[in-house]
Symmetry: C2
DNA sequence: GTCTATATAAAGATAGAC
DNA sequence: GTCTATCTTTATATAGAC
């Protein structure tokens, strides 16, 4: 019942969350164990249970922190870019950065695929992540249309979904195809985004 | 060492492959066990080992059969549709059918996401699946361009990847967002495909 | 906050009878 | 082809000392 929230983590707990996140993005919820974390961090399994009594709690905290950081990144984009087109391109770059490092999947893409094999509390967090992303993207596209920068006849919601799905899919397919997909997520995102230009 | 190939399965083995595939599409490689199959089929675990000594072999056969059936479906599309646009729309419908049933993921989308947590032989099959799909899509788009039906200036390979990634992503996001994504894969696919029309 | 020791259950797999 | 019985290893988790 400790460490219920990502905002009050001790340095030791933070390190566990870091490693858990990387393992999740690489192998999924059922693809890693407390032993994997222990080995990587250099402590023993029961020490992890001291910080996060159950795996479900640990992964819930990882997911909350991921969502929170993503929301911060979206606010950063709004600060740095005024135009809808530029905001969408910067959005695509977020996925490129995640994937570009070590071909890591989006945490929520991975957990979303495994939705039926994941604790309900985690699945719920993941759902919030995607809803927030779709809301943000739809707003950006609609604003761009109102400003006359984006084609007014396209359906904002549909194209928000198209962009999000293309980016998430690019990470899955890119990893699965093992190099057969040359452009990263950002390049595919650009193909969608330029088609929106007025 | 038995049942190395999907084309020589006994009826009992075929039933195991059916159930294993459904479980894989629902929960992923590490999200199901021989016990889950046994419960569903109504036999005991060791009976499954008689047909498929290891889980890796079982999943490899599932994947081979899936790929083979998909390739058959692509040949069916070529038989039924002459135009590139129609072929691409029929392709998108394949994903709609998989997802539409029970919000099931593409088998190879799931295994691709889990690529690092899956036996090497399985990961290799999955890679072949995506390469074959990208090859087929690129060919269809290039043919459409040569026939003057599709816009000649778009990069065939990039848009083949965009379509495939959007469809795979739509299944992941659709399941993860739990109803927040209204259009199924086919609707997102159409948004990509119509933009290719000459 | 970390450890050793331990509990409990599940997963993957094998031996051998029917 | 299926079963019971069994083995081994791993995963998740707890108790209690330092």
């Amino acid at each position: 019942m400790k460490n219920r929230h990502f905002s009050e983590l001790s340095p030791a707990a933070e390190r566990l969350v870091d490693v858990a996140q990387a393992l999740l993005q690489r192998a999924g919820y059922n693809g890693f164990s407390y032993e994997d974390i222990a080995r990587e961090v250099g402590i023993k399994k029961p020490s992890i249970h001291h910080h996060f009594p159950t795996k479900a709690e640990l992964v819930a905290v990882v997911t909350q922190r991921y969502m929170h950081r993503f929301a911060e990144a979206l606010r950063g984009i709004e600060t740095q870019h005024d135009g809808a087109l530029e905001r969408l391109l910067a959005y695509a770059e977020l996925f490129e950065q995640t994937y570009g490092a070590q071909r890591q999947l989006c945490l929520c893409g991975m957990l979303g695929a495994e939705a039926d094999a994941v604790p309900a509390e985690v699945a719920h967090e993941v759902q919030q992540f995607f809803k927030a992303n779709l809301r943000w993207l739809t707003d950006v596209i609609e604003s761009g249309q109102q400003q006359g920068r984006l084609r007014p006849e396209v359906n904002a919601s549909t194209h928000a979904q198209l962009l999000l799905c293309a980016l998430e899919g690019a990470m899955v397919v890119g990893r699965a195809a093992g190099g057969a997909v040359h452009p990263g997520p950002a390049a595919l995102g650009r193909a969608v985004i330029v088609s929106l230009e007025a």
